[in-house]
Amino acid sequence: MGNERYKILLIDDEEVVLDSCARMLRGGNHEVVSIMDGAQGVELAHQFHPDLVIVDLKMPGISGLEVLERIHAFDPTIVSIMLTGFATVGSAVDAMKRGACDFLPKPIAPDEFRMVVSRALERRRLILETQALRREKEMLREQFAAIVSHELKSPLGAIQQNLFVLAEELSDKLDESQRQRLERMKVRVTDLMKMIQTWLRLISADIGKIRDNFHPVAIKEVIAKAIESVQNEATRKNIEVLAEGADTPRRVNGDEGTLVQALVNLLNNAIKYSRSASEIQVRVTEDGDKVALAVADSGVGIAADELPHVFEDFYRAPSSAKGEQGAGLGLPLSRRIVEAHDGTISVSSEPGKGSTFTIRLPALKTS
């Protein structure tokens, strides 16, 4: 546990228990505060910000379980130990359910007490460390986004545009081989640009922010815009995108632009993994207060062991490595957008037969 100094809050209506606990904690270099009432204990926790709360289960006024519940409601990272006068399995289980990380039967044995406390504090240390790491990761993510955005995207955009211009300007001066190489350069640069843009969207977009501007969005519109946006690509592969139930009057509270993007990503994937001259279906169904948008293809499908990972950042299915390019970010982005809308996204698939991705969103009540 090292020499870290932790704040410990003791809550028990029996003075003798508080005293003996405080005594057992002496020498541990911790800051210990005790209080004899549950409600006051909760109050104190707000000011004191303890790392560990040790609380008696049975107290007059509010019970230990309730104290725990209230403390965890304002800071779920605080670790806690429940003291139980009558150590029944039931009360221990109850305590653990409410977020206690351990329990101690009374009378308290000093060795056991110190061990349980030390274990709880170790847990607290890990929680804090994890939080710090998560914050660090977030910061790196933001910095990386800034770098990608400013140092890569702008120059590449200028290169791309000038390639397009040069190809046009030189069109009557180049021989066939030169022209073809220039065309390939255009394609490669364009692919690279697309990849950077996808990264950017995923990394820099603070998707939670879109919630500030939620307003009623017609599902019909989302589908129409998403299909329009992939139509060229579909036509190129001779794939027909069919919509079923897409004239639904249902609306969701959300952001149209990002919802369209979430659906476009699913459609792009479906097109990418479909054989040419096949069909992709967009089906809208209603399920109580939820509206479901399903994108079904009859493409290559996804192996069962890959299914749980397809919504993870940067995941690229091993089976997709052949021939198909992509940054593996479309699906995670869709997932984040859908989750920001309090929705869910799921997938079912059968290798060789095709995949179905389903977005479920809470729909607004039809007026």
Partner: protein, 140 residues
């Protein structure tokens, strides 16, 4: 062509502007450029133009859009056709969630995505100029 049409490009990337400028100049237009919204606005008001080409994703994002709105509100500038050129259409959705994204987030303006196809650019510019002339002739 009696007198070359006067076009103004406002985009913060010099190399990008050079590319666009080359296409337009070869097609016989007279092209000036501004590399930031501030000097863009000054140049915009300095003399009559036949068409503006505006990158709405200048700098950290919002400035180009603000500028497009300013142009749209100005009764004089509004008469000049505006061709909006944008980096990523979808990105706008993230920067300005909830705002209408496509295609006319500034009413009555044309929008093209980067990279612009040279032929398409010339077509759009010609069409916008023609429409604007027709409008002017009708007003007279």
């Amino acid at each position: 062509m009696s007198k070359a049409k006067q076009l103004l490009i406002i985009d913060d990337d010099v190399d990008y502007v050079d590319g666009i400028k080359a296409i337009l100049t070869r097609a016989g237009y007279e092209v000036a450029a501004a590399y930031n919204p501030k000097s863009g606005m000054e140049l915009l008001k300095s003399k009559p133009w036949d068409l503006f080409l505006l990158d709405v994703m200048m700098g950290r994002g919002a400035e180009g859009i603000m500028m497009a709105r300013q142009i749209g509100k100005d009764p004089k500038l509004r008469e000049t056709p505006l061709l909006i050129i944008t980096g990523i259409r979808e990105q706008i959705a993230f920067l300005f969630p909830g705002e209408p994204v496509h295609p006319h987030f500034v009413a009555n303006d044309e929008l093209m995505e980067k990279p612009v196809d040279p032929k398409l650019l010339l077509e759009r510019v010609a069409a916008l100029l023609k429409a604007s002339e027709a409008k002017k002739a009708k007003a007279k």
